[in-house]
């Protein structure tokens, strides 16, 4: 378990495969998909054929038996050319399939996991509500009440990734199912198949970025699902979503690394090609240093991501490292995208250029799966700051 910065031969080979797929299949279509706001079912299913959606799951469940580090390699390589498909993969695995694999019964796994791991279907996880996402416990208004052997779920969820695609199978929703002895809300995760009467999604949001990723408001209107759809035990929802987000932070960090790497690739090429005042713009230190800084950011962010993932894969504490990686990488990605757009001049403001698109895509990295403030809050709390 000694710390190694060297990937295994298989991980290198796999990274090479995903890179090739991203360059050959995704990159040529990324601009069009984002311009038109299309969720590309065909590409997602091809990603499934490569095995991407099955990476961190047990072989007994139909997974590849690999680890979070390997998933991060895939997310980075996809995210390098298109952030929308990067988040689609991240959310489908981390938010959609993982809770079912982690907490589901054998019957639940049999019912839903197969299609999710092959990428034939995707799933979502609904925590955030109109009233708030940072303070999930305080903001959850969605309720589930027992009626015979069914739950009746009412409420709504906002900004839910993969909730409204043509291949969405289920959305796991966090609902209030009562109160504990101290009057705190009891939260329970309930799996809601997307074809259940009363489950609906609002039209697509008009988002700043992630245009080819599916994000929806979910409306739950007297949705009846069997009690057997409870994930884990009633009242375990709080603990479950905290654990889910720990892993999600590392994966979002990998997505941010991909964005920075994409900026470096694009800017290096462009700085050598584009001429002003008779020389390539890259011969100006003002431009060259921007790209050098991006490389420093990518390298640092990648190390933080891999270390956090490595700790998790080896059973060590990793919560703080996950927060650090997510916080650093996402803020570095926003800076990198801003500077990359600058290197491209006017073209950097055009969304048909990758760096222009990344300028749009970067901001959400500081918000989703725990805002930067929430990461800082958790890191400070973990250090014991403000507890006395």
């Amino acid at each position: 378990m000694a710390l190694s910065f060297i990937l295994t031969d298989e991980q290198e080979e796999f990274r090479g495969l995903v890179k090739r797929f991203a360059d050959e299949v995704i990159a040529p279509r990324a601009d069009e998909l984002n311009a038109e706001g299309v969720f590309p079912v065909d590409i997602v299913q091809q990603m499934g054929e490569l095995g991407l959606f099955a990476i961190p799951f047990a072989e007994a469940d139909g997974g590849m038996g690999a680890d979070l580090t390997t998933l991060c390699l895939a997310i980075e390589e996809i995210g390098r050319v298109d952030q929308s498909l990067g988040i689609t993969l991240e959310a489908a695995v981390g938010l959609g399939a993982t809770p079912i694999a982690e907490y589901g019964t054998d019957e639940q796994k049999l019912q839903w996991l197969g299609d999710l791991l092959t990428g034939q279907r995707v799933a979502g996880f609904g925590l955030t509500e109109p009233g708030g996402g940072s303070d999930v416990v305080g903001a959850t208004r969605t309720t589930a009440e027992v009626d015979g052997d069914h739950w009746v779920v009412n409420g709504s969820k906002v900004f839910i990734t993969n909730a409204g695609t043509d291949i969405t199978s289920v959305v796991t929703v966090l609902a209030r199912t009562g109160e504990d002895a101290d009057g705190r809300p009891e939260l329970t995760s309930i799996v809601v198949p997307a074809d259940t009467p009363g489950f609906s999604v609002a039209p697509k949001y008009r988002k700043v970025g992630w245009h080819a990723s599916d994000t929806r408001e979910v409306i739950l209107d007297d949705v009846r699902v069997p009690l057997a759809n409870t994930l884990g035990e009633r009242g375990e929802g709080f603990r479950q979503f905290l654990a889910t987000l720990d892993d999600g932070r590392i994966a979002i960090s990998a997505l941010a690394v991909g964005l920075i790497q994409g900026c470096i690739d694009e800017c290096t090429r462009y700085a050598n090609e584009r001429e002003a005042f008779g020389t390539p713009i890259g011969s100006n230190q003002a431009i060259a240093f921007k790209i050098a800084d991006m490389e420093v950011a990518a390298h640092t962010a990648r190390l933080a991501t891999h270390e956090a993932a490595w700790r998790r894969d080896n059973g060590l504490d990793y919560k703080r490292q996950a927060c650090i990686a997510k916080l650093y990488s996402s803020e570095a990605a926003v800076s990198a995208a801003r500077e990359a757009a600058q290197v491209f001049g006017g073209y950097g403001f055009m969304t048909e250029y990758r760096v222009g698109r990344f300028y749009q895509d970067a901001k959400i990295l500081e918000i989703g799966e725990g805002t930067s403030e929430v990461q800082r809050m958790l890191i400070a709390r973990d250090l014991g700051v403000g507890t006395s």
């Binding site: 031969d9 298989e10 080979e13 796999f14 495969l17 797929f21 054929e49 095995g51 991407l52 690999a66």
Partner: protein, 261 residues
């Protein structure tokens, strides 16, 4: 059914090729090496046979110690095993010497069909598949843009400048495929992980009973006398569109001159 796919390790097609001035052979250590891209089409045909008939597919590579990564790459498409023939005496072999080693390796195992790529991306002679067929006295079905096996009969569409010929023979046979034959799939994660545990049978010339004097640089039938770098690209012809529509005619004339149309 047993299928053999001979694969080559070549310099990365994206990089520059380096020729060693002393040995007048390609410096294969000069840059990244990859599985020859044309072999991916042969592997795809083999994988299709595997899916359709449960065929057992073995890759065969003649090459030095460092070539195992190429073998693993080939195996990552879900193939069953590999044979590598490696021997210092093979170094410097020309197409015929290589064909002798491949033929000897094939004579040592059972197979129904051998699927080659029609050429490598480095030396590009296209000689090896036909030479192997000749040495083994087997039907040679080269330049296949389509192949189909039914029982012990094989049909291929042999591509040529005017179209293709339909060629049939019985198995066992030697086939080489062109890139038009299919669209190779990507390997997948499972295949990559499984590749390492697939059996690899490493053989020497002595194992195959091949006389070391019959292969290698010394016995090469082809001799390299001189080589030169590719001349710099000449300036192209520019057809200007002045709005009168004559540009289309000019372009058509030029293409006819070049025998493109």
């Amino acid at each position: 059914m047993k299928v053999i796919v001979p694969v080559k390790r070549v310099p990365d097609t994206a990089g520059d090729k380096v020729i060693d001035a002393d040995t007048k052979t390609m410096d294969r250590d000069a840059g990244e090496t990859v599985l020859c891209p044309v072999n991916e089409f042969a592997i795809e045909e083999a994988v299709k046979l595997k899916e359709a008939t449960g065929a057992e597919v073995t890759v065969l590579l003649i090459g030095p110690d460092g070539a195992q990564s190429t073998i693993r790459k080939a195996l990552s498409y879900g193939l069953d095993g590999a044979i590598q023939v490696t021997d210092d005496a093979i170094s410097g072999s020309d197409a015929l010497g290589t064909a002798r080693v491949i033929a000897a390796a094939l004579a040592d195992v059972e197979f129904d069909v051998v699927i080659f790529g029609n050429q490598s991306t480095d030396a590009r002679t296209s000689l090896v598949p036909a030479a192997v067929a000749e040495l083994l006295d087997l039907p040679s079905l080269t330049y296949a843009r389509f192949m189909e096996i039914d029982g012990d009969a094989i049909t291929v569409h042999r591509e040529h400048e005017e179209g293709w010929d339909v060629v049939e023979s019985t198995l066992p046979a030697v086939v080489s495929v062109v890139e038009a034959i299919n669209e190779p799939r990507y390997p997948n994660f499972k295949g990559i992980m499984a590749a390492k545990s697939k059996p690899l049978d490493v053989k020497s010339l002595a194992d195959l009973g091949v006389d070391a004097a019959a292969v290698g640089a010394g016995d090469a039938a082809a001799t390299m006398y001189a080589f030169e770098p590719r001349p710099p690209k000449a300036a192209g012809t520019i057809v200007t569109d002045d709005g009168s529509g004559s540009a289309a005619d000019d372009l058509a004339d030029w293409m006819e001159e070049q025998k493109f149309i």
